[in-house]
Symmetry: D2
């Protein structure tokens, strides 16, 4: 069963462990004729790459992606695209201690209990390193979206680090690329830098909230009732390491609203329906409305920390653990490009699904023609 | 494509519209030899049934489920189980207005834009009535779980209505069945009754937060990295009508914690690992730990309200809409048994998957034997 | 897992047993806006219906199909279509003997060994009666194909009964509807009538070879390398009860040819490529060429016969069995409309897949434009 | 969509083109704890490797398989296993002519018509080279079967080359490994050598019939009605390049039998049911009986031949083609290990499915205990 796969028509299977020879993504169902090359994919991987500043793990890997199949003379052929990233900086010796002890809050213990065997080096398959393959696949999805849905854009950014949220009245998209946190609020970014520095020095870590906005998606994407656009986005984001919550539009806060508050009223504009608000996050009944699609997810703090925690060994003895090695004090930072990549894959998937199910357009709104 | 299906090995496909002849669930992959009959399923449907008190829609349907296949002499045979519920109280005349106008916050407009045709009567396929089929399937899943994992229990309850949350220090499981809101906090339930009465009279509606706890699930359930237990739970809950957010364990609040706070420390107990807290909601790396599994979701307020809202017609004219008919002022109430049912289906599915992938148990913890 | 389902985008799940309350097909993925009603489906079911002449089982059922969902005001809505056929003539008492004894050549013993429980009445799920659901789904697929691929036609016919094949030089499509065997060779049909009469009287049965030809399918359908058009056709036909072999084009005989004989040479015609022969059966590399698609399958003789055969009981005792009841002396006759239905479903599925994957057309042949 | 994948729980996705950097198989769902290394897989690849004798293509590739993931310290971990084979001897210049002309009987034209782009070098994705990935995956399946079903064996062999079949009365399993054709009849092998030599010299090619026998499979494998064991075997074999027909047991010949002839009578033996014949090929109702499972398939002659054939160019001009390069005069020879590999994958898949669906055993036959 493709339990390491996601997507309906654009189907991504990731493979590989943190400290094996390589990892990658096998992508089946990419339409033919899409212009793509390794440099285009590398652009997105470089955004996620660790070791770029003091706030992410100091593991240094080129994370160079290779296209092994499915592309001929610069274009996809409609056959599977194999994207491989070799692991080059593996330093296995750093991880000796966790072969025997389970890190609290980490998948160490559950992988052991499930499989009876685990590649403990660097977290093996449960390492955040697996997300590099997602970013590579997301780059391919972006290339296909650019060809199929011109004008669609996907932007991820951090809206809270630990207990410190951004001030949305100060948010400016142009800031996102200007700080190491992909934070749209320059003031918050400055505060976070100081906050995280303190945490890092104290050997602790912290969580974060990431938001991804998709602009320019047409109305009509999404397949009720179990392949809804929001259902697939929720699954995609929840599958990212350390994610504990997912929200669409107002998310959990929608529960506190009344029906009259929550209704995104509609008026008719020159180009179709205009919504006067976007509590729904661009999705009604699992189908896109044409508004901005807004998805948000919470990343818990890195569980590999220098602060000693009580735990047990594989042979059942009580002990404590201090996780050395190179770990991100806020793994949520690197989750930003991952969230974007997942959104890109899900959107492309639903563009293809819609085309298969519906062919051309669905119903139009306006005077009968 | 089974876009109206969920589950890997225990695969549920729901079908049917609010005002068609019938609706139901086609369940493929139920293990053979499970004792089940219509009365056992009816028990769960009766919990969800509308018209039971003044807080839910006054539509009165017996919602009687029939088993059309897959059960022989009181036991499942391993072949597909067809569960059908006939629609008897359809009063289509109530819905005349919404044939032409789109309700704000409702799937009316997106179904039209996607498909170019929609059964507008009572919301058609996007009606909350679809969830009756889920509850029937969930009843079957519960029967199978009772046979395969004795001791596992699933309990749903409401933890917030609109802005009013429960006080967890007052929570008492015994209260859940004693009020119409499945609320574990008797005081909150009393307050909600008054609050909802006011809303109902004013023609408005409100959202809610539901929590489902699974007790007694073994460690090892869940299939990383895209068939994780939390990923599947998130998708299952997000697929329910009107759900806008899903959380596992601490959920969105996990982002505000430090790594040392978030670590559920482990000590060795007489029967295996003991966790000193449960921020993780019973799932690490997508695999169950053996602790309580805790999933929470937010239901937005019903969009069919008596308060007038601005909208447009199918021919593109601005107008206002007042939705008469029989609607729930807090559709979240009826979402409680639906959330339980979805949890039951996902859990059973992962029990079967684990058995297929792993056979017997995975790794043990304790002195080498 | 949808092990009772087939199809990628047009996904058919059949459910139901021979002697349960009903059986049917849950069809997910039918495009919206397709004109269909019960009478259109009934047309195809009536062709398959037993009891029409002395060569098929005398079980008399109206086999009336009901559409329970997915169709509104005479058109599909893009939501699941539930097709139900109630079982009315069940005479369970006829089947008492086979509750304890396993019929040689029948699924009785393997269902028991697999599931440890079986609905023995009339073969339960393994009854040829399950194919009624396929024919209903095939009717829906034909309606969609008529809208999406005008000019496509599907014709099934019998080319051999037992050892007696047709003479292809005498074949005439107009004959197919004129005899109870869907035989294109009038002389063969007359011979078969006499032959089958003798077999029936002696309490024996016989096999058959069925061929299905699809005309008017465009080039480009089929998804290499494991969703090939021929792969899916082979699986579809092999899944029909009692089928033991499937051939595309020359089939098994292709093995005896040389490469120069087998090459279907190509010349350029006014409307595109013209093939001078069709050894390939209209499929190269798993993709349709635009020629006639030809698939053939062998149906073994009915295993329920009046001739005594040695067998064992469930408790392991040697015995003999004589299967009374109403059985087809040549179950292959009723397999003709079933083969057509399966071909219709597979073709529609690949039309939708192609549309989803490729969008409009693929590569053109001819002078650069 | 995983259209380049097969299998339910043991899911194999092959990727790669004949003349790209590499090809391989992404295998998801392999149980953990299976002992496997590259040498074990290489053993099976070496059997398929071209250039071993004058009867197969003279392309010389080491076809060295690398395990990139999913194996740790010599055992599978339950995570995806990536098997990669680099392409080293690509000689693209040999294939210049087929960039513009379509080979009759080859997928050249249909890939072009479908995708509008194709990697024409060596057939690209439609090359028989893709089957190397299947053989690697089949090696992994064999390793898992050895652990899970001790005593199960899989043997493929050729039973006809062109019009020349073996004499089954002379068949001897020990001969299979002694001649380049995997032929169990030494006399036939000698005749074929001479026959094929003549064909090769004349620049022609020929088809073949391959049979695969699985011994030692337990009763109860197979999932009716669309995941039947024979359905999955038929799809698996039909998906192999150049296969035009698939048979189970008596196959197409079953059509010529009467019910009394076809019934495999059953008596009770000391260890369970004993069948007095095996017309069914070990499968009844899609479920294994415990007898030998027998599947047979026809491979058409190689379409790349030196004999000139009429065809057209991409720009629509009539022409003739002579395919130079290194091609197998009887591609069926190399299909033998491929058929074995596909059988291994399908069998393992159904072993895992059965375990997931049924748990332990199904029904027993014998005196009540």
């Amino acid at each position: 069963m493709s339990l390491n796969s996601f997507g309906h028509l654009f189907r991504v299977t990731t493979w590989g462990e943190s400290h094996g020879p390589a990892l990658g993504a096998t992508v089946d169902g990419c339409p033919p004729g899409i212009a793509v090359d390794e440099a285009m994919l590398q652009h997105w991987l470089d955004r996620r790459k660790p070791g770029q500043n003091k706030y992410t793990t100091q593991r240094r890997e080129p994370d160079a992606v290779r296209i092994l199949s499915g592309v001929f003379e610069g274009k996809t052929t409609g056959t599977p695209v194999q994207l491989m990233i070799e692991n080059t900086d593996q330093r296995s010796k750093d991880y000796g201690d966790i072969a025997e002890k389970f890190r609290p809050g980490h998948a160490d213990i559950t992988y052991w209990q499930k499989y009876g065997i685990r590649d403990y080096r660097g977290g093996g398959r449960s390492s955040a390193r697996e997300t590099a393959a997602r970013v590579a696949a997301g780059g391919l999805a972006r290339a296909a979206l650019a060809a199929l849905v011109p004008g669609l854009s996907i932007s991820g950014y951090m809206v809270a680090m630990g207990p410190h949220g951004i001030d949305r009245s100060r948010a400016d998209a142009a800031e996102i690329e200007r700080n190491p946190f992909w934070c749209p609020d320059a003031q918050a970014a400055a505060d976070w830098a100081e906050y995280l520095d303190g945490l890092r020095k104290s050997g602790d870590s912290v969580g974060a909230v990431i938001e991804v906005t998709v602009r320019g998606a047409p109305a009509g994407l999404g397949a009720p009732v179990y392949g809804k656009l929001d259902t697939d986005l929720a699954a995609a984001m929840m599958s990212i390491n350390a994610v504990k919550g997912v929200e669409i539009g107002d998310g959990m806060a929608a529960a506190a609203l009344t029906g009259s508050e929550n209704a995104d009223e509609i008026t008719m504009g020159p180009d179709g329906p205009v919504y006067n608000s976007n509590h729904a996050g661009g999705i009604l009944g699992g189908i896109s409305t044409g508004q901005d699609i807004v998805v948000r997810f919470a990343v818990k703090p890195t569980s590999s920390i220098l602060t000693p925690r009580r735990t047990i060994t594989r042979s059942g003895e009580d002990t404590t653990i201090v996780t050395k090695g190179r770990h991100d004090p806020c793994v949520g930072i690197r989750a930003v490009p991952v969230g974007e990549a997942m959104a890109a894959c899900v959107l492309l998937d639903h563009v293809l699904l819609h085309r298969g199910q519906i062919g051309a357009a669905g119903g139009s709104i306006g005077p009968a023609r």
